[in-house]
Symmetry: C2
Subunit: 229 residues, 2 copies
């Protein structure tokens, strides 16, 4: 809280969706991001930002018409970076399925590590249009990349061929959308990133022990017959 | 469509939540259920019901003040039956984990087999209070019974001990709530019951092949290190 004028910029951070070109626009975006995360989106004002940047409010407004325009641009940068990285990972024919899975989790987890439950709650309250935009990005991206990953896993013999990739993508979308919501995160006492890693382990690691899987496979035929009686 | 006056009653059906005591109240509930499922909840009227039952509208209204009161009672019966059966199944110390899983799927699947996507859509449109009630029943029941089942699976050595039963219950709740919604069912061209069975196989059967599981376990340590770099 003592050094609000020193944003935690790491110019070499390839995971950072905001370019480090030193232009006024990107300087504003970086400072705003740090400010929003430190003090909350709701309680930050354009006045605060201008004074932190040592910029007149007039100059600030020359680049962004509103606080919402700033967070909107940050979210756009983030969305574009995630999409382009996921495109590159999932399209690579040389990466193994598990490698791809790791890198997808790393990419999304890296982005999520910037997002606190408090920040999500703040957006939901004070910038619902932006919160909805994040929702829409998730709803569009998750089925695409997840389905692609599962299809590839089947091709490589790593995912059960009887799995329906589209259904699996939809299943995952609903689970993760439901879990990464401000009130559920607070209830579970987990950050978005912790939630992602826990959910991936649950879904990909599987629920059952080796003995459990044997028993499940053995009873499956009977169970299905029983269930549809 | 030719025999609307003959509801498909099977007195010996232990899965039927409406008792077959022959009283006017249960006669109305059974006839209404068949009628709603055949013609849709929205297009059924109390007039239709009275004439189908060979009852005056006055007598009908003596038992139920409205069409919504009828569907409300049907949903209550269904909710109570499902709860009491799931209580009995999950509390039984003699049933194995996989047996319990089968019977839970059979119970919920049996109830869902009465529910068409069209009927859900109709409730959402014309009886939103009842639709919300079904939502609330799901939100209350799923975490309870799922968590109990997973805890039991861990005790019996069938579920991986590192699984967090509460988190798994929440994951499942969001996935299944998202999938069993009128618009998603229509998009997926699946009934609620087909969705349940497909989702159970996905979640309990696991995503990976034996080779995939080996590779996943081998890369896991590296993947986690990588992911949190």
């Amino acid at each position: 809280m003592e050094f609000p004028a020193v944003p935690m910029e790491t110019p070499a951070d390839v995971h950072d969706p905001i370019p480090t070109d030193g232009s006024a626009g990107t300087r504003i975006l970086r400072a705003a991001r740090e400010h929003f995360f430190r003090f909350g989106y709701g309680s930050s004002t354009m006045d605060d930002l201008a004074s932190e940047l040592g910029m007149s409010k007039k100059t600030l407004y020359l680049h962004f018409p509103s606080k919402e325009a700033i967070i909107d641009t940050i979210v756009n940068h983030m969305g574009r970076m995630i999409s382009s990285r996921l495109d590159a990972i999932t399209a690579d024919p040389k990466r193994s399925f598990v490698q791809k899975l790791c890198e997808v989790v790393e990419t999304v987890g890296g982005a999520l590590s910037r997002v606190s439950p408090m920040m999500l709650r703040d957006l939901q309250r004070y910038a619902p249009r932006i919160y909805d935009k994040i929702e829409q990005i998730r709803q569009r991206n998750i089925p695409i990349y997840f389905t692609r990953l599962i299809e590839d896993g089947i091709k490589q013999g790593m995912v059960r061929p009887e799995i329906d990739p589209r259904f699996a993508g939809e299943f995952w979308l609903h689970a993760i959308r439901g879990l990464i919501q401000p009130d559920i995160l607070e209830k579970n006492q987990l950050t978005p990133r912790q939630t992602l890693e826990k959910a991936i382990d649950l879904f990909f690691g599987g629920l059952l022990t080796p003995v459990g899987r044997q028993d499940y496979a053995k009873h499956l035929a009977h169970c299905k017959k029983h269930a549809s009686a």
